[in-house]
Amino acid sequence: MESLSNRAKKLEKKPMTLAERAYLPAIFQGLSITMQHFFRAATKKQVTIRYPEETRPFSPVFRGLHVLKRDEQGRERCTACGLCAVACPAEAITMVAGERKKGEQNLYREEKYAVSYEINMLRCIFCGLCEEACPKAAIYLQADKMAPPRYERDEFIYGKDRLVEPVSPDARSKRGIQLTPEQAEKLRSQLQSA
């Protein structure tokens, strides 16, 4: 059969020459190659990334740890409609809805809000369908954070305490990307005027 790439090389099994049968030249060649790598690793270039001190750069479209967003006035956006839980193929999301009481308008944006909201990070496959399903732009998968390893299974069930975005604008991120100081300042002035 004609080879497709025309790069096939016909090999013949020749008897080994004396130098090949003596092994030693090939051994010294191999030893010199590994020694070069030894000095390279000892002096500068090691391919190892010492996680967690060093991390690999994330792709901007990376889907990492979830965050429940607040709006511009620091109110929780989630209205506990349950669409994310329906969309979730891994059934990782559970929530309990509650009605907003009087005087809580500065806490929750909609009249209905999530009293509890839990994501099981062991079930989650980080597909991002919850993000797509959300009509209130409340849940996002951050591009710069991963669910860290834990010792106990129940520590992987993230509640609102770990999911909701912090109130301080400095700690906020936009789709998981940390705000620059200018952006944070702008957001802070917006909050104060509101």
Binding site: L24, I27, G30, L31, I33, T34, M35, H37, F38, R40, A41, A42, K45, Q46, V47, T48, R50
Partner: protein
Amino acid sequence: MSLESLGWQGLVILVVFGISLLIATYCTYAERVIAAFLQDRVGPDRAGPFGLAQPLADAVKLFTKEEFFPSGANKALFIFGPCLAMITALMSSAVIPFGSFLKFGTTVVHLQGIEINVGMLYVFGIVSLGVYGIMIGGWASNNKFSLLGAIRAASQNISYELAMGLALIAVLMMSGSLSLRDITLQQSVPGEWHFWNIVKQPLGFIIFLVCAFAETNRTPFDLPECETELVAGYHTEYSSMKMGLYLFAEYVNVFVASAVMSVIYFGGFNFPFQYELREWLHTSRGLSLDASQNIIAILGVVTVFAKIFAFIFFFMWVRWTLPRFRYDQLMRLGWTILIPLAIFNILLTGGLITTGIIPEIKQWW
């Protein structure tokens, strides 16, 4: 021998024992770091500074693992196997001369566990006994794969011991002595230009080196315990510290093989210009004869350990460079190449001694 020097000798034996264990411990660390560097990696660096506490962590891990006995195993022999491997590995370092001698007043301390006039034979005997540890361990496991692994190991060790012994016979023909101390001292004569045995026996050294790799079950001849494809080998059924003893014995064996090679072929504790240095310390620096002797003895200890470490590094370097031999290749290399070569080397050495090209050894001490 006076009681005092007997006490000193006991101390030396203890130190040699401790050093063998310590070096074997840190060989496990060195192996991993060297392997990592040869593969452009970092290696263990978490436990302690530069990962230096890693061997301790490994030991704790091995001690706390489940002690497993396979059903139908001969329990006594199952425990005895790794013990024997460890004992034989440690015993052979007793006759290695790690230094000439220290002199305090009238007390002379030889830096050697014990000086016997059949040192080389002793090392060989003990190394041969090491096969029993492997064989008993493999047989007592009541597992056919363990048994096959043990038989593989035993036949390899026995085959390569032959070539090793024949390579050493050439050295013995030159030295005329089986004592490792004599062989070391012969490689350096005061006031004379003198070479180490490697210059007189390059072929013998290569044969010995290859056989040392096979005897210590190191790559490229690590068929007895290849982790990846031949079901581990004789220690398949072993777990926890019994397994640890087998692995540990391998490193002690590497240390002993390195020590034997540096003593027999690389001049042991001799280093260039040692007698001139002693003379200079005595005459120009005004030190007493004993003090200058002690200084070069200590430098000699440093020298012999530098040589040993270089060999240990070489063992590891080779391990992370070469792939494993196939079993038939291993047997062919041992029986059809190394043994004829070793016999040829004996003839060659005999010829060179008769024609006087290799000068006769002087018993100068």
